[in-house]
């Protein structure tokens, strides 16, 4: 420590803030923007990028509905249509749903825990650049007519070397690597942030439920995503250097792909859904003006869901001719997951029942979620049964089911969460009037679009067909669905308009517009780069409700270097005054070097050898000490 430095508690408010701003500021300009490690800047970029991908995926959906609006339409050819539905699914799952949920965590978790930055901030910057590169790769390939055309789960042998000529399937498989690297990095950051950076006093039973949900989600990512990375690597190897993992003629097996894919793919659903559970639990408590009913039950339900998520994957494979006993086991486990889901629903209903409700837009989306998700859950229990699944497998019934659980179960809460946290992120309120319009258009549009798909599925319409004949009598419902999707899209359009308008001209929100109880509302909106001038000390699960007069904080941190508190895992006792690294351009260069290697390796195995050298150099640049005050110990 140098002579000049002094601790935060000794300084006048104005001096404290200017010193903290000096220490935590991100340099302006192009290189500053590329070097920043502020979790809020990166989180905001992540969220905006993910929503851009949502909009792009929505345009693809619109194109598909245009094509299917009438029988034997000739607007899109079969080859392009294959690319479009593959891009739609891949984009929505890997570039929108998972990243946006993790991005909300990147932005909010450190604030809700009362700390100053996420753990491993440079890894966080790296993860964003990798995500952006992966998304750019996929969409550039699509623009060049090289987009993957094998479905979002890329089953072999269709995606294997024999049928999947060209580089389309490789683009898909390598895009997986990009997004999984980024998701795994964020998960490690979130796990360590939750374990070690909680405000002193925030014991395990005081962690906000949204943070719990991100913690469980992160563990799911850590255990599930290696499976898809192994799978996609084996696929690339089969295609590039002639291995035989999925080639039955040489001792390989096509079902191995499905096992590996769904061992990841089913937990993936909960990776998307659990953060939504956290969002709903947060919004419900705030707008019912009471602590959420059954905190412990909700936490246990999330953990139970996380564990059960790994015992369900075979229900995606019921029609592959697996042994009966296996099928029965997976039917039972698939139905069992309805139990924690039910517990969650009843806890929310109890909270709403007992609360003094304030029907603002976020709560509307939550109520829309409960209704829609319950419908999706019911069809989930139906397709968990082998005989029903055998009938409706690969039909529009399944399309309807998973849009109900994913859009109803995750996108509705997400939109509610955007309305809820937008004031924190921008300092401005979104419009209540436009919000209500957007909600009703989306809610009604969604149900009119997707409910008839159940019926189309029961009538036998298969998914992923680019057209159908008039004799099938599906055209009436298809036209209805296509027209309804306009309502849904109108709702989303309104939402985007509201976001852009409010970001510029929304009413100033103040620090805590909803009178919410968690720590992110204790600081200004948007929060300063250092999040909190003095770090909060927590004595209750709802600190801003229990201590509405003043916030309890601790002092004694240096303001001349980026300091925060490391606390113990269970009780959150303070253990050390740790430092958070400064901005660095190296994560950006590492991401560039990694992208070059990964894309090159689609074309040549030697890329792995030669491409690794720049990555190693960039990593050395990243980790080599620069003599900053944060280095001192």
């Amino acid at each position: 420590m140098t002579e000049r430095s002094s601790t935060d508690a000794d300084l006048e408010d104005g001096v404290l803030i200017s010193r903290l701003e000096q220490t935590w500021r991100t340099p302006k300009g192009f290189w500053g923007a590329l070097s920043t490690v502020d979790h809020k800047t990166i989180g905001r970029r992540y969220i905006i990028t993910a929503f851009v991908f949502l909009a792009l995926g929505g345009i693809l959906a619109a194109l598909m509905r245009l094509q299917l609006a009438q029988p034997e339409a000739r607007i899109i050819g079969p080859d392009r249509y294959n690319q479009i539905f593959t891009m739609h699914g891949t984009n929505m799952m890997f570039l929108f749903a998972v990243p946006v949920m993790e991005a909300m965590g990147v932005y909010l978790v450190p604030l809700m825990l009362g700390t100053r930055n996420i753990a491993f901030p440079r890894l966080n910057a790296f993860s964003y650049w990798m995500f952006l590169a992966g998304g750019t790769l996929l969409w550039t390939a699509f623009a060049l007519d090289m987009g993957p055309d094998v479905g979002w789960f890329a089953y072999v042998p269709l995606s294997g070397p024999q049928y999947g000529a060209g580089k389309r399937a490789d683009i898909w498989a390598q895009m997986i690597t990009f997004t999984e690297v980024s998701a795994l990095a964020v998960s490690v950051e979130i796990i360590v942030t939750v374990f070690k950076q909680r405000a002193p006093g925030m014991s395990l039973d005081r962690i906000p439920l949204f943070v719990w949900s991100l913690l469980v989600t992160s563990f799911l990512v850590v255990v599930a995503m290696p499976s898809i990375m192994i799978a996609s690597t084996c696929l690339i190897l089969d295609r590039l250097i002639g291995t035989h993992f999925f080639n039955p003629a040489e001792g390989g097996d096509v079902l191995l792909w499905q096992h590996l894919f769904w061992f990841f793919g089913h937990p993936e659903v909960y990776i998307i859904f659990l953060p939504a559970v956290g969002m709903v639990s947060t919004i419900v408590a705030t707008f019912a003006r009471r602590p959420v009913f059954g905190y412990l039950a909700l936490v246990m339900a999330m953990i139970a869901t996380g564990i059960l998520a790994f015992g369900l994957w075979v229900h995606h494979m019921f029609v592959t001719g697996l042994p009966r006993l296996g099928e029965s086991f997976f039917t039972a486990s698939s139905m069992a997951i309805a139990v924690p889901a039910g517990i969650q629903i009843f806890c929310w209903l109890a909270t709403l029942w007992d609360g003094r409700l304030s029907f603002k837009t976020p709560l509307l989306f939550v109520i829309g979620f409960i209704v829609t998700f319950v419908v999706g859950g019911m069809t989930g229990v139906m397709v968990a049964s082998v005989p029903i699944d055998t009938q409706v497998h690969d039909t529009y019934f399944v399309v309807a089911h998973f849009h109900y659980v994913l859009v109803g179960g995750a996108v509705f809460p997400l939109l509610g969460a955007i309305y809820y946290w937008f004031p924190k992120m921008t300092g401005r309120m979104m419009s209540e009037r436009l919000g209500r319009w957007a909600f009703w258009l989306i809610f009604i549009g969604f149900n009119l679009t997707f409910f008839p798909m159940h019926i189309l599925g029961l009538q036998g319409m298969p998914r992923r067909v680019y057209t159908y004949q008039p004799e099938m009598h599906w055209h009436g419902l298809n036209l209805f669905v296509s027209v309804s999707s306009l309502v849904l899209m109108g709702g989303f359009l309104l939402f985007f308009i509201d976001v852009i308008r409010s970001a510029r001209n929304g009413l100033p929100s103040g620090p805590n517009p909803w009178a919410a109880p968690t720590l992110e509302w204790a600081t200004s909106s948007p929060p300063p780069t250092y999040n909190f001038a003095l770090l909060p000390v927590v004595r209750d699960s709802n600190p801003l409700w229990e201590e509405s007069e003043s916030l309890t904080v601790g002092g004694g941190l240096s303001v001349d270097r980026r300091e925060f508190i490391v606390s113990s895992v269970v009780e959150a006792r303070p253990e050390a005054r740790e430092t958070s690294p400064r901005d660095s351009i190296w994560p950006f260069w590492t991401a560039i070097a990694s992208s070059v290697m990964l894309i090159w390796s689609i074309f040549s195995p030697w890329a792995v050898v030669w491409g690794s050298i720049p990555i190693a150099l960039a990593l050395i640049g990243w980790f080599w000490p620069k003599g900053s005050p944060e280095e001192e110990s």
Partner: protein
């Protein structure tokens, strides 16, 4: 919102070691990710074996000698690795420097033998699925060794500079040692799969 100071953090240490360090937990999380990856590739191996009429599939038994030498080298390296970690705890910079140089050598040695281990598999990666999976397992673990070796080399170089004498660096040395234990540990089930399961 008004603030009320109820705690004083000024006496806390400036850096935590072990469970008080974020890097320690981060290393553990990455070990969990990689451990899951290894477990899955072993699952792939066993899955393909369960389908095959004979195992090894249309190939002779792999030759055990190079793999066993690698295993022995890795196990032997655990002792100096443990010592380096202890010296880091004692902040004995001179011994740490010697130890890291030694660990660098002990990282290079198994790589040299590994070069002979691939041909000892007696099958190519593109011959059949058996060849594919054993080559992949071996390649994954080789990547693992190379990664930690690179980390050790850079860390060793760092310890010879003015940045070496710093609690953070000592923590890095300990975390690097912990990771090397994992590299060795992860190898044992793979070694057993590749060389001994076909002989069961």
């Amino acid at each position: 919102m008004k603030q009320r100071i109820i705690a004083d953090f000024s006496r806390l240490p400036l850096h935590g070691l072990g469970t008080a360090s974020a890097t320690w937990w981060g290393t553990l999380a990455f070990m969990l990710i990689e451990g899951t990856g290894f477990a899955l590739i072993i699952a792939v191996y066993l899955y393909l074996m369960a389908l095959a009429p004979v195992w090894p599939l249309n190939a002779p038994q792999p030759e055990v000698l190079p793999g066993t030498i690698v295993t022995l080298l890795l196990i032997v390296s655990l002792l100096p690795n443990y010592l380096v970690s202890r010296w880091a705890q004692q902040r004995d910079l001179r011994k740490i420097r010697i130890g890291l140089v030694l660990m660098t050598a002990l990282g290079v040695a198994p790589l040299i033998v590994r070069f002979f281990e691939f041909p000892a598999l007696k099958i190519n990666w593109d011959s059949n699925a058996y060849g594919s999976v054993v080559w992949t397992m071996l390649a994954l673990h080789t990547t693992h060794i190379i990664t930690d070796l690179a980390d050790t080399v850079v860390l060793a170089a760092l310890m010879f500079t003015r940045h070496g004498h710093n609690r953070r660096r000592y923590g890095d040395v300990q975390d690097n040692a912990m990771y090397w234990n994992f590299v060795v540990l992860a190898w044992l089930p793979i070694y057993f799969c590749i060389y001994w399961i076909p002989r069961l």
